[in-house]
């Protein structure tokens, strides 16, 4: 009898230049739940995809996108965290 495969999640986080999924990637992160690769801050100077749409075309499944929020009065010109955050996943089967 074949051993039952386990499912693990790979997560790709893309930060885009605006709220459209086909906007250019300006920042990114990868977390590999299979443990096969280790990604960390500063490990790549080239984005894995040009746009969020390119990630979809490559099989990544979008599961969360940041909301568009109104600007607090008096703080309209403040800048803080990157605004256009998109979480993608791939489910990968690994040997037990």
């Amino acid at each position: 009898m074949l051993p039952r495969m386990k499912t693990r999640q790979k997560v790709l986080v893309l930060y885009l230049a605006n709220s459209a999924l086909d906007a250019p990637v300006i920042a990114w992160a990868v977390y590999d739940g299979t443990g096969q690769t280790l990604h960390m801050a500063g490990d790549d100077d080239t984005p894995p995809y040009a746009t969020g749409l390119d990630a979809l075309k490559d099989g990544w499944r979008l599961f969360q996108a940041s909301q568009l929020l109104p600007h607090a009065r008096g703080e309209e010109h403040d800048v803080a965290y990157l605004k256009y955050e998109f979480f993608f996943e791939q489910l990968v089967e690994v040997a037990p």
């Binding site: 960390m40 500063g42 790549d44 403040d78 800048v79």
Partner: protein, 306 residues
């Protein structure tokens, strides 16, 4: 002695990008003396924190209370005294912070080779990107100098920083999720390099894949009084009116305060990139003590002053 002060264009670059880098400017005698005073790390083995703590304790770099005048922070004859008395060091600090800067803190950042992490049962990883201290809503700023006493190669990692992030009001490592950001830079540099940073620049230590330790010494300083118009303002000119925007028939001269302050970074979002420009104008107004200064009509349009 007259100090080599920064020019207005240098100040505009710092205002826009949050850093000024000077490669190989510290004499080798100071670099070697500093490395000797900093001491060395023991052989791999044991917890990283313990190895680090023992090395700091054995170092001859002094503990210095926050709030000490920088001029009194280091003993005569020490490498750090010599470093902080270099004309270039003093000229940049005077330009950015004014006279008599105050010491905040310093730290010896050492990034250990993989053997130390393996011996401790861990894995060598880079430091999460962060902004130092805590949420800081000031327009005024502190300066952090990063001193690289030996050559840093790319396999050694180097300090990673993202130009132009200094005006973002964030909470320390809350942004650690951003592994990579377009335009990030890695401090690969010759011995004796100085990197002067606005306190808000996002940065982190790169992982060291080489077989020798990487050392960087950081000193944070603040102004003791006025920090505005402290550079060489001889070249500071107020333009005669605004320059044309959007419909222009050629590339503007890049070596003007206006062009430097309006140059975007690769990571800018399309909408908040405009807010970055507005915040640069606000910082330039503060530095020049010119509350009406503007470029490309960003503030004038919002203030309704016509």
């Amino acid at each position: 002695m007259s100090l080599p002060l920064l020019s207005s264009l240098d100040m505009a670059r710092f205002t826009a990008r949050g850093f000024l880098r000077f490669d190989g400017v510290v004499p080798d005698a100071i670099n070697q003396a500093f490395l000797e005073e900093a001491g060395s790390f023991g052989a791999p083995g044991g917890r990283i924190r313990k190895v680090y703590g023992e090395a700091l304790a054995a170092s001859s770099i002094p503990e210095v209370p926050a709030g000490t005048p920088l001029a009194q922070a280091y003993p005569e004859g020490s490498a750090l005294k010599a470093l902080t008395e270099l004309p270039l060091f003093q000229g940049v600090v005077r330009s950015l912070l004014g006279a008599d800067p105050i010491f905040d803190h310093h730290f010896l950042h050492v990034t250990l080779p993989p053997a130390y992490h393996q011996a401790a049962g861990g894995e060598a990883v880079s430091q999460h990107t962060h902004q130092d201290s805590t949420v800081d809503p000031r327009l005024s700023f502190d300066v952090q100098v990063m001193y690289y006493p030996h050559e840093v190669t790319r396999p050694m990692g180097g300090t990673r920083f993202i130009p132009g992030t200094h005006l973002r009001k964030v909470s320390e490592v809350a942004l650690g999720r951003y592994q990579n950001i377009r335009g990030q830079q890695h401090m690969v540099c010759p011995a004796g390099t100085l990197l002067f940073l606005h306190h808000g620049v996002w940065h982190g230590g790169g992982v060291n894949h080489a077989d020798r330790t990487r050392s960087m010494f950081k000193i944070r300083m603040r102004a003791s009084g006025r920090q505005t118009r402290c550079w060489d303002t001889a070249d500071l000119k107020r333009p005669n009116g605004q320059r044309p925007i959007y419909f222009i028939k050629g590339a503007p001269d890049p070596d003007t305060v206006e062009a430097i302050l309006m140059a975007p970074e690769p990571w800018f979002e399309q909408d908040t990139g405009r807010l970055e420009m507005i915040n640069r104008v606000k910082l330039w107004r503060y530095l020049t003590e010119d509350p009406d200064w503007d470029v490309d009509y960003w503030m004038t349009r919002l203030e309704g002053v016509h």
